[in-house]
Symmetry: D2
Subunit: 434 residues, 4 copies
């Protein structure tokens, strides 16, 4: 065991303890017929928790970790050691990683791949020894300056090829480690100015790239889901995977709507002008819901703040939509979250995750109870009950005609009267659970 | 002629005049091979200019017009008289209308239709006597309380039927008046709270509704385009036609992407977090560009301010994207714009339109010159030139494989070097034209 | 008793009831040594609950109330009857009103005043018969078209005089009814365009106006507080009372910082880019905290949505800052909130207030417990403990010199090390209470 | 001369040249009676142009400069060499710097100061040899981790002392180099969470700190202005120097309103919800206008994008307010702007500045002409003309009474009628000049 977390004991469920412990997350508590942990499927993000140094655009590293700056393989190994210690303390069932945060890039594609595989060996060993499973892997196609103008959407085809090689390697490693999903976040797949951008060409490049990723997944027999993570902007002024609706249109355009799903981040939902529950509900309605990044954005900040969740009522509404849609299959609850750069200590990192897991547990339990008791759904059903009639259904059936509906409406002298939407009463109802 | 505009003479192109006149818009000036008016295809919005009374959520009518409140057919006729006087003063080639702003609603669908037809008779007469043409018609499916929970997406099927009858009548009238397009703006097709909303069901209702509109258009032989006008929110918290990308996904989902295009409003683009030129460029890339509402939003206001355009460089970039895409076919430049509620006078209404037409004329001429001289396009082409090679094209061809590209990249020892995007130099270049 | 609310029984505290009842608000429950009702001091806003008809910029009235449109004194009296029935049902201890929402404006200032007084007679009678007390009165200086360019800041001095007369009358009536505060919200004290605005002159007009209001208050012996309600914009593009910090600067400029306090609305805080608790904490720090409007804004909407509060953790943080500052003196918790325009029924209006009162009760109790247990304050004190030393205090004392501090720092070879801010641990701590 | 800019010739005014040249900025052209350069007083920001490496939160350095990473004195000297070459190419009359971007921090306060002085020796030499003058100096009190929780507002008094020593040294060097202003930007003077923050205490610390800076300025006879640069947020969630109005209130609170002025950045104005011209006009009205940072924010981005200005009409309105207020005294036009991280080349850096200077020159000339021709001012004066009457003035005079004004209003039977604000006509008027 590494030194860094030595003083922190593994967390247990101990609601009344004053020590670091779970106050609400009891992994094996049965909720809607299965253990809470199987609903929530928590994952720790390797990059933020072990790679991020506390910098922001106006200042550099604030964290002092023995494995920083991890620009050698020895330090990368120390980082891995500490990470798996941390996973054990939390008892988190999953983790996620980018190639970039687990090993220093090599001097060539080949060396980078070798290094990735060497770290993957360590991961594999740790996982076999009882460590967490891999929720998803991904390639970092945005930090290196070669990607400054995009990866798949780069004006330079060599960058496209470089990115292809990188994704191939990351997908291979993800499969080897039993990853349940593979994620693409297009942080530089966008533009800074339309003046130098061929929007249509870049979308086509991105469509072809994704099609090849899907094809390759099938070739190697990867059983996990391919997920796109939408974000409207930042780092670029405009990103092509703006939000769930945009990704859906993109997938339809390139015939990928049956092959690719979305990983929805709460913070990105907010930056795109939506609520988190909206994005989840929409993905469910469109059949492309995959997984979530459960990290909030500060509502007053215009950039991605990637904070740990803390508001139970908000989180409950998100899980409510997830449960309504049938819950996670390959997906889970990843904390793509950074502790604040002033939260310097090992204890801060542990407490942040523990608090977030408790918030999610409370949210899940409230959501499950709302669903079980069925009042919200009953109210929703009642609101649309008029559509159950045969005549109403006929209007929606293929072959229905505008003029025939119109003639009938005129003939019936229709004068429909509005009915209360009861929003406040429904909000009150939700407040009984949260 | 009505009294209201009696004192205002028809505008002419008179750059040096101190009177109300066009300083830049010379309708017959040849730009890129055709008269400016045929590029711009200006339209006046009947509702804002003749129906809006100057109210806002915190105060009522400020404008005193002899035809207010237009709740009788006599006043509606007076309004029509004034409107066509105004069109004549401006020399605008087009106008647009909703049913709601041209006649008071009747006690029944039948009476409302009759009234609409009576006003259409007047319009027809005026148009035949040399008045403007109809750019588009539309139905107001949001002001009456029956639509408070949506039109096509209403939980009550009778409202769906009522909306269908209304659109049928408006499409009929639009066709009768030779309208070149028919627009649907889904102001209430959205929700206030997810708690009472069945997102998937409502989208399906909206999809069926639109399919029937398209079907009916073909039945009656309407040759114009069907257009959806995206807007992210307001009046509702979330509207389904959020932005161009969202509408595209919606059209694909319901198989309508060849049948329906978009009417893009600058203000709505901004409220959705985009630039106007982005939305136009994207619609062109996706093949669904139709028409524009050329009214800006105040960048500091979070609601739809519907102001007349005033910033020439912004407008030039919008027309540049329109011209790059081949220009308008059925579409045009509609001013879906309100004069400010403190702009009380007839002269304000005329000056606002005249100033906006001048701004557009300047923007168009700058855009045309940029396109003619070709520097921007040359720079863009040069940036993507690497993709012209056979090897690069092969990577985008169907059948290309991720692993083969990856293997080749490794073998070639690829180490792509970034190239300057030259954004500031391109911005400087644009500034030579505006 | 009027018919409108006849079917609804007065609410009681009945946590397990399935009827309309309070589940958390037990008016006489002792919290921090006094009854909950004396902490919360709930007030109902006459205008939204009895005057607003459900309109928005895209549609008109949705509510059907027997007293609409209240453009006669008879209807205004019916409205008053219904309002006091409603107050009784809720058991709310206070209400608030504008002149505009209690009586139709007369043909002259004199008639308007007479009408106001006639309604005030009714109010007085109702109040003496056991009705609620008046938390505050105010004048509506924004709805009538005469105020379109401002009231105190109008370019026309006659409007200034008209506004002065109106405020005089409203302050008189507020005093007569025992009002505990008088509020000014400057909804039109701002501008639409700087191009026609003399910012400095308008600020001076506003400063003089407010000084005269304060002077008049003292002349008539009004003991209540004068409050300004900040809002950044809407209806105007920019409003002078932007936020708490701006109002503070304004008060200092005109020497009024000891005379005037602020009424802070959650929704307005959000529109200005702040959290509600920030505005309260700042007002406390600056010594100008007065009262609150406890109505949230939708975080995704860019305009004032004036919704009833529903998120307990948010509300708890607001009351925490209020309690830290010593609690309300003349102020209280006003619901300047509208039910959604789709919430048509009498029951919706009651439920919205009841739910909000419950949310506030939960928030208050959580806040009180946090304060009582003292952990947050202990952590805060510990963080600043270094400033307790004599040497540290000396640096803040008048007469301390930059160069002397600098020399000492150099001499001591200072190299201060950062200490964790523990944000997530504090958020976890708060989550124990909410 | 350094190698880096060797290929780029000094720019001249050559409107028709296709080479890098000024197309509008003719330094000695007389505008409103003095050379354009004396109106504009351009300054280059050392940090962005020579210190920033092209990183953002999602990726590292993109620029390759021979003086990066400048963590040795030798590289810092090479940077200085290049910077002065660049100044000479541009012919910019001023530059600005932070301590942090001109020299690597030393191991102690003393060493840092020594290093600063060694670089200042080089600057002085260059300046005496005909280099630009110093518009302002400043201390970077935000990048080092010691400042993570603030400088003057830090919970640790040692950080306060450290910051004091740093400002002392920077002010000394600024004076030695003949700096015309000294700026304080409080990038970390704010908070991430209220939960660990004592707002009132931190404001008092900041007030004392600033008072000591002012005192020290007088002690050493520094004749320049002390300026605060407002910014609402970023890096912190909330910054105390939110906007001009907030800074004004702060200055009044600590009695500094005669001693300290503001340096207004366009991008920060936008992030605070204002227009640039608003902030300038307000600072003029409050008597605290000092200088500007002429760098725009992308209107769609929620973080500080610090882009070079490119929109002439916007810039013209800013200079219009500056000229209306009498123009700069000690202040000037600083480009606190970054070239985009994809703009890799030396030529990009030069072109960005040259283009920006041209945009400013066009804006200034348009503004000057608007002011000279006087139409806007005539319209504004006419709008407020009613206030010229003796009766109107009496209402604003000290001693005027609300009740007397009210009585007179009632007696006169006042019924003021609104007058058009003519916004669109004024916007049209502005468009004649830009
Ligand atoms: Co994020
Ligand atoms: Co994420
Ligand atoms: Co609009
Ligand atoms: Co529109
Ligand atoms: Co409000
Ligand atoms: Co309010
Ligand atoms: Co900035
Ligand atoms: Co700046």
């Amino acid at each position: 065991m590494s030194d860094y977390f030595r003083k922190i004991a593994p967390l247990s469920f101990a609601p009344d303890s004053e020590n670091l412990a779970f106050r609400h997350y009891d992994a094996d508590e049965i909720v809607l017929g299965k253990p809470m942990k199987d609903h929530l499927r928590f994952a720790v993000a390797y990059w933020h928790s072990f790679g991020w140094e506390g910098g922001d655009p106006f200042g550099g590293r604030t964290f002092e970790r023995p494995w920083f700056p991890a620009d050698t393989m020895a330090l990368a190994e120390a980082r891995a050691e500490a990470a798996f210690d941390f996973f054990r303390i939390l008892g988190a069932p999953y983790y996620c990683f980018h190639d970039h945060d687990v090993r220093p890039e090599g001097a060539s594609l080949a060396e980078s791949r070798d290094r990735l595989n060497r770290i993957a060996d360590i991961f594999q060993q740790k996982m076999e020894a009882g460590g967490p499973k891999l929720l998803w892997g991904t390639a970092n196609l945005f930090s290196n300056r070669r990607y400054m103008s995009g990866a798949a959407t780069n004006p330079d085809p060599d960058v496209f090829a470089y990115a292809a090689a990188t994704v191939r390697d990351c997908l291979d490693v993800t499969q080897r480690l039993g990853g349940e999903n593979y994620v693409l976040w297009g942080g530089r797949e966008g533009y800074e100015t339309l003046l130098n951008t061929d929007l249509g060409k870049e979308l086509d490049q991105m469509g072809r790239f994704l099609s090849m990723v899907v094809d390759y997944k099938h070739r190697i027999g990867f059983k996990g889901a391919i997920l796109i993570e939408p974000k409207p902007q930042e780092p670029t002024k405009h990103q092509y995977d703006y939000d769930v609706a945009t990704v859906y249109g993109f997938l339809r355009r390139y015939g990928l709507e049956e092959e690719v799903k979305v990983n929805i981040e709460q913070g990105h939902a907010i930056l795109a002008g939506h609520s988190f529950e909206h994005e989840i509900a929409l993905a469910n309605a469109l059949g492309i819901f995959g997984s979530i990044d459960m990290n909030r954005n500060d509502q007053q900040s215009g950039w991605d703040t990637d904070q740990f969740p803390s508001n139970v009522p908000e989180v409950a509404l998100a899980y409510y939509e997830i449960l309504r849609g049938g819950g996670f299959t390959t997906g889970g609850t990843n904390f793509d979250a950074k502790i604040r750069r002033q939260s310097l200590d090992a204890e801060d990192l542990v407490a942040a995750h523990a608090g977030a897991m408790d918030v999610c547990a409370r949210g899940l339990k409230a959501a499950a109870k709302m669903l079980e008791e069925g009042r919200l759904e009953a109210a929703r059903d009642a609101r649309y009950a008029g559509w159950q009639s045969e005549a109403a259904q006929a209007m929606l059936a293929p072959g229905a005609r505008l003029d025939q509906i119109a003639d009938a409406a005129v003939a019936r002298g229709l004068d429909p009267q509005p009915v209360s939407g009861r929003q406040e009463q429904l909000e009150n109802l939700v407040n009984r659970y949260v």
